[in-house]
Amino acid sequence: MVEFQFLDWLWIIVFVLVMIGSGALFYRLGKRSESDFFLAGRGLPWWLPASSVYATHTATDTPIWVTGVIYKYGFAGIWYTFFSAWCAISAFVSTRIFRRSLAYTQAEWNTLRFGGLGAEMLRGWISGWQVFMNMFILGWVGIAMGKVCHYVFGWEIWIGLISFSAICAVYVLSAGYWGVIMADFQQGIIAFFVIVIVSMWGVFAAGGPSEIVYKLGEMGESWRLNPFAFTGWFEGDFPIAWFITMMVISILGGFGMGTSIDWYPEAQRMQSAKSVRDASYSIWWGSALVLVRNSIWAVAILGFYVMFPNIESTAEYEMGWFKLGFDFLPVGLVGFFFAAIIAIHLSTVSTHLNLGAMYFTRDLYHHYFKPKATEKELVWVGRIATFVLLIGSFFYGLMMEELTSWLIFALWLMAAGVWLPNILQVVWWRFNAWGYLSAWIANLGMSWMVVWILPSFGVIPKLPDYEQFWLLMILGALIYIPVTLSTKPEKMDHLVRYYAMSRPIGWWKPVKEEAEKRGLLKTIEPFKFTEA
């Protein structure tokens, strides 16, 4: 337990009031329309959604698992955090295509890209899955906050889980995405500032940068400084094959939509940006900041390792970065640190409350239940959905006992079988709704089979996660490719409309030719020599 003084409590109270106030201030803007409640009216300059991308992906559980992989694998563990690099290519490919579609959500985009019954089934499925997924994410970051509060105050886990998410709900319910984005901006600044302070404090507590390098050498652990310290091509628990898989998933994933679970909150930020250019830069810079932050954390954890090298318990060393803050910062700054943890937590919770509510309101209520709903009614439905998500997340959070196994399952495996279809839907005109739908159904069944069921019955050995990824990708392709080719392509009218608006990359020649024939595309004037 950590002892707080008056100044520490003062920081916390002031910060919480500022965070709630800055969000709730935008109540009048948020209630104007569905577009305001979920996309801040689509008029934000790039740096606002960029700060939100950064703040959202700095959650309470993030330093826990970053610490876990760096403590275990040394600086090379940084590649575990590299999945956010999908934004590198996405910023200039799928972000551009998605922003041009103007779809509120990925589920809505499905009906623009595909047509007919298949597209509607996809919209229903993706939106339902996203409502569930956001509740699930809220549960897992909530339980991480519960653990931090247990570590700091000795509280029961459920107290930390419920209390801070409930505080966050105040400004999300009142101002919607306007509240989320404005609070994220200041939360992002606070979080980055404090992460730098605490990490550098930890580095100097370990003797400073040069001393960390020297001590690691003295301990015979210099390999921990090598970002490419792998255990062999296929051998050990951190092989090069894993690294290559991670690079493929994260970097090439940027050609698709939904190749990472982070795509869904980022897609909302893309549509809230005022232009295609702003959308691209918001995604690029937000993620660049995430990667730089991970690297700063990694150095602090190397310092933590130098000070506490022999911790066997994962649960204990995973709390290393928090320990640096709470044990080494002076009185007064500890409260500042905890206030930053609250900022980190609220920024993630607010995003997923609003995002889950958007999928429910836009895709389920507005599109299927009540297409003639008024703007006022839609804002109220958004608020009710936000509240239901909040309550649901408490139940999910209390059900999750083992944080890491859930996280790895969600990050790797629930996406494995649909990783390639998520790219194909963007780059290949012939890929249709039935192919995509079959990929989802197959993946849901096969991920459980490959990860849990078949190994428990001894049918296949328990495979490392990167092998599971490739296996699921191949098994999935054996289903969705035949389904795609044996069913009709989407109607040309629909594809041409989508192409003219979004201008996708990849294999779209027949659609492009048809669009040109119909005069829907501006033709480039051929180059002419002019006489001097």
């Binding site: 600086f75 940084i78 290519i89 940068p209 970002p227």
Partner: protein, 99 residues
């Protein structure tokens, strides 16, 4: 830099060109260099400073190559955005269209 196109017409900017592919290559390289370079620079290792510099240079190059094109795509699309948004709203309010 004659190799890199600076002046775009809206129709040219809508096509996927070599400038896009240069950005597609430079962008992940920049992320990789920034990720490793930041950490190793804080540890005061010389290789860290080199990698960090490479990360910054590749980000700047990427910006120089892609920004003129992005500006034209954006301004052209914004002209049509209002009309597209109206169509999107019509599609979600399908009951109105079906009578």
């Amino acid at each position: 830099m004659g190799f890199i196109k600076k002046d775009w017409t809206p129709a040219q900017a809508d096509e996927w060109t070599k400038e896009d592919w240069i950005a597609i290559v430079l962008s992940p390289l920049s992320y990789i260099f920034l990720t490793i370079g930041t950490g190793l620079s804080i540890l005061l290792l010389p290789i860290g400073f080199i990698l960090l510099a490479l990360g910054i240079i590749s980000a700047l190059l990427m910006h120089l190559v892609i920004d003129p094109k992005l500006k034209v795509i954006s301004s052209e699309f914004e002209k049509k955005q209002h009309e597209y948004l109206e169509k999107l709203e019509e599609s979600i309010r399908w009951e109105d269209n079906d009578g």
